[in-house]
Symmetry: C2
Subunit: 219 residues, 2 copies
Amino acid sequence: MRISELSAASAVSIPTIKYYIRQGLLAPGTRRSKTQADYGPQHLRRLRLIRTLVDVGDVSLDRIASVLAVIDDSAVDTHDMLSVVHTAIAPAPPGNDPGLDDAIDEVATYVERVGWNIKPATPALRQLAQALVTLRRLGWEVTTDVFEPYMHAADSVAEWELERLPHSDRRADVAEGVVIGTIVFETVLTAWRHLAQQHHSSRRNPSTDTANQSNSTIR
Amino acid sequence: MRISELSAASAVSIPTIKYYIRQGLLAPGTRRSKTQADYGPQHLRRLRLIRTLVDVGDVSLDRIASVLAVIDDSAVDTHDMLSVVHTAIAPAPPGNDPGLDDAIDEVATYVERVGWNIKPATPALRQLAQALVTLRRLGWEVTTDVFEPYMHAADSVAEWELERLPHSDRRADVAEGVVIGTIVFETVLTAWRHLAQQHHSSRRNPSTDTANQSNSTIR
């Protein structure tokens, strides 16, 4: 298809498509003449993946480049791919708060006690440590015990997610599954947490019943 | 205390403190002379709350103003406060994808079936609908059934969170608890999901065992 058709099918403008090609995020089309190139379904697929990373994951183009490089590198297995995607969508916080190093040790000890096999450089470990530091600065007396309900909830979700990973001979399918699943379902999980908080809050405060609104359209 | 002491205690620069005062996010200090004002512990507390919203929640100053207004408005109860905080940290996606309206109806039907009491305008409903639309555009055949594990995980986390809300006569304490808890523990939940994905992925691919790294420090 022509670039105009690719643009229509992907809902990405022609200048943006050309920009992605210049940045190396998208392969150039096959030249048909001096002014025309031909694009295939793999271009459309890659564009949709980039837009998901931008629109849903709020990932910068720099980080998208590193995610795409990993998808295209057949030497990288699913497990390592997960690390790259996690780092791209949730980089380690840059903070150098006093107490952060101690908090990182606390988190490491907790993860060890739980018995999980986690790479030491995983940004999520630093994020959890930063959360402890932030809460304590705000006057909350918290220990790593506060993590328990989150750890259990995450455990059940991740077990289900890994079982559902697409089984395919095309490695690119699996890679895309990991990227999309990680990013889109992060939004799904946090959205459900908000709904669940509303639900439990309204159970605790029956006076704030919104049932009278239940006949209006949810829009 | 003087503004220099407030700055040292909060780790927020003096120009930034002055900027927050001009923007109405922070009350002015009590004038002591033409060039000096006095600040109290309530200023320090408010500054820490603003920094948490900025640093952890990545919330814009506009949205912070609306969160603070709700904290300070004694007519707003905990339940309504939750809605304001949720909207501030996760605004409804602006998308107008074809199929979004139908997906919103699907999500509404699912929430009704689950029996949760949710305000129709809640952004999370639109986020879930947008996730369905995005996945389908990427070729995933999904129905609202895909939400089930996330709904259950969120339910158990939120039940525990609402039970743990600070009980205090000072309404501002409860309000701050809602704001901080919602934002900081969102990071905690998504960080644990990343760890849990790594854990289950390494169980499925034992060859990628990282146990040999377990003696190095997690930093």
